[in-house]
Symmetry: C2
Subunit: 334 residues, 2 copies
Amino acid sequence: MKTLITGGTGFVGLNVAEELLRGGEDVILFSDSELMAYALQKLSALPGTLKTVRADIADRAAVDAAFAEHQPDRVVHAAVITAGEQRELRDFDRIIDVNIKGTGHVLSAAAKHGARRVVYVSSGSAYGLALLDGTTVSEETPPQPDTLYSITKFASERLCARVRWLRGLDVVCARLGSVFGPWERDAGVRDMLSLPFQIVRLAMAGEEVILPRREARRDWIYSRDVAAGIVALLYADALRYDVYNVAAGTGWPRFAENLCSRLRPIFPTLRYRISSADEAPNVSFLGDRDRSMMSVERLSSDTGFRPTFDHGKAFDDYVAWLGGNRDYYDTRRR
Amino acid sequence: MKTLITGGTGFVGLNVAEELLRGGEDVILFSDSELMAYALQKLSALPGTLKTVRADIADRAAVDAAFAEHQPDRVVHAAVITAGEQRELRDFDRIIDVNIKGTGHVLSAAAKHGARRVVYVSSGSAYGLALLDGTTVSEETPPQPDTLYSITKFASERLCARVRWLRGLDVVCARLGSVFGPWERDAGVRDMLSLPFQIVRLAMAGEEVILPRREARRDWIYSRDVAAGIVALLYADALRYDVYNVAAGTGWPRFAENLCSRLRPIFPTLRYRISSADEAPNVSFLGDRDRSMMSVERLSSDTGFRPTFDHGKAFDDYVAWLGGNRDYYDTRRR
C-alpha cells in the first residue's frame, strides 16, 4: 500500500510516516520544507520505502502532479499553518491558501487519481468555543470556530464532507487532542509548540522552567497514539461517520510537574518550579481556560482503536526518545 | 455618512445603494464589474452622491487603496461568488479568493481605516443542513455548512467575529432569506437566479413556464426589505449579537403561481402551468427540499425593523419595477 502524507515533514506527519514504515508500507512525504537528513536516515532504516516530494500544497498543479506520479492508495492530509494571533493578522492570505485551498487541492487530486481513502488531520480546535464548556465534547457537539486556525480547520472538514458527497471520495476527519511526543521540534513554522516541548526547549537552554500556578485542563494525547489512531482510520473497513475524535478522552492531572520530574534523567540540571503570585510563567498551555475532554467512543467502536499511552507510559517513552534523538530536536546542535 | 458597498453592482448591493441614496447618503460601489449605464443613470438621479471603484476584492492592496481613498464610515460587504455545483468544482480557488480572502481583506481595511460599522451580507445558506430540518431556525441554531457557498459564508461570519475580537471592529452579519425583487438580472455571474427571476426570464423569451408540481418551502424576502434590514443593522445604536437573520420569517404559500398570475400586466403573453407527472419543470426552487423559516425576532427587537412587504405588496411593487426598468434586466435589449 502507498500512502501520501501532506505536511509530511511536520510533527504529526512524521509520526504517521514512522508508524506506516514500521509496518513495511510505502510512504510519500509531501512537504514544502526539506526533510532533515537525520529524520531521513532514521525513517529510511525502517522496513517500508520512503519517498519525498517537495512542493507547495497551495499550488494546485504541483499537488496534482504528485498524485499523478505516485498514485497513492491512501492519503493523510496534515499540511497546515498552525498560526497564532500575530501570524493570522500578518499572513492571512497565505494561511487561507495553505489551510483551505490546500485541502481543496488534496481532495480534488485524491478523487481524480482514485485514492481509496483520505484522512484529513483536523484538530479539537475545530470545536472552537464549544471546546471551552468544560465538559466532554463528542463529534455531535456543534462547533463554534473562533481563531483563524479553528475557522480553517472546520471549513476544511466541511470541504471533506462536500467532496465526499459530490465526487464519492472516501474521506474522514480526525480531530486531534493536544498532541505531544516524538518528532516535535521548533522549526520556526508552528506558532504553538506543545507545553512539553516548551519545557524541553528550556531544559536544553539550561533555563529554569517556571510553570503556571494553575494547570489548564487539556485532553493530551501522545503522538504515537495519534499516529496509530490515524492509521486505524486509514484502514478501517467501513466508517459510519465523517468525523472522529482522536484524543485520550481523559485529563492527565499534574501533567506539567510530572513531566518535569521525569525529564531529569536526560536533563540532569533541569530546574522547575511553580510561578509565584506576581510572576509570569515561561511556558504556557496555549490558553488559560480549561478545555473539554474529547470523547473517543466513536473512534473506539468503529475502528477498535483506543489510545494505549497513559501518563506514565507516554512520559517514559518520550524521555527515551528524547535521549536517543537529540540530533533531531536540539536546534543548537546544527 | 459615507458607505462603501462591496459587490456594489450586484443584486443585493444595488438594493442597498438605492436605499441609502434615497436617504441622501454618499455611496461608493466597489465591484470588479462595471455598473451598467442604465443603473448608473437611475441611481445618480437620487439625492445622495454615487461613486464607483472597479477592483477585485481578492486583491488586498486594491481593497486597502479603496478604503484609504474613500474613508467610508460604514461598509456593506456583499461581494461573493454564488456558485452552483459545477462552478464550485471548476473555480474552487477563485471562490476561496473572493468569498473568504475577500472578506478578510474588507475586514482588515475597515479596521485599519476606522470604519464605524461593517455589515457582512451572509445568507441563510450559512445554516447549511440545519436549514433543512423543516422548522424555524434562529441565530442560535448551530450551522452545518454543506455546499462550498455555504462553507465560505459561515467561515466569513466567523472571520467577522474573529476580527471583532482581535481588532475591536464593529461588524455584524446579516443572514438573508431567499431574496427576489428589483435589480436582479442575469449577468452570467450568479449561478442561482431566484425562482421569480427565472420566471421573468422565460416570460421575456416568450417561453411557457412549467412550474414544479410541488412548491418547496422558502423564506422569501423582498429585496427592498433586505436593503432596509441591512441599513437598519448599519445604523442601529448598539447590537447585542454578531449575527441577525434578515428574512420574512414566514412562508408564502403558492408563491410561484401567484407570482405568475400577477406578471400578466407586463408579460401579456405569459403562459404557465404545473408540470405533469413525467415532465421536468423549467424553473427551480434551487433544491427540492423544504427549508426552515428564519426567525426575525432578534432583528426586530434589536433594530425595530420588521419586513413590510408581504406577498401582495411585494408582487405589486416588483411588477411595477419590472414594467419600468426593462432596459436593466432584459439582456436581449443590449
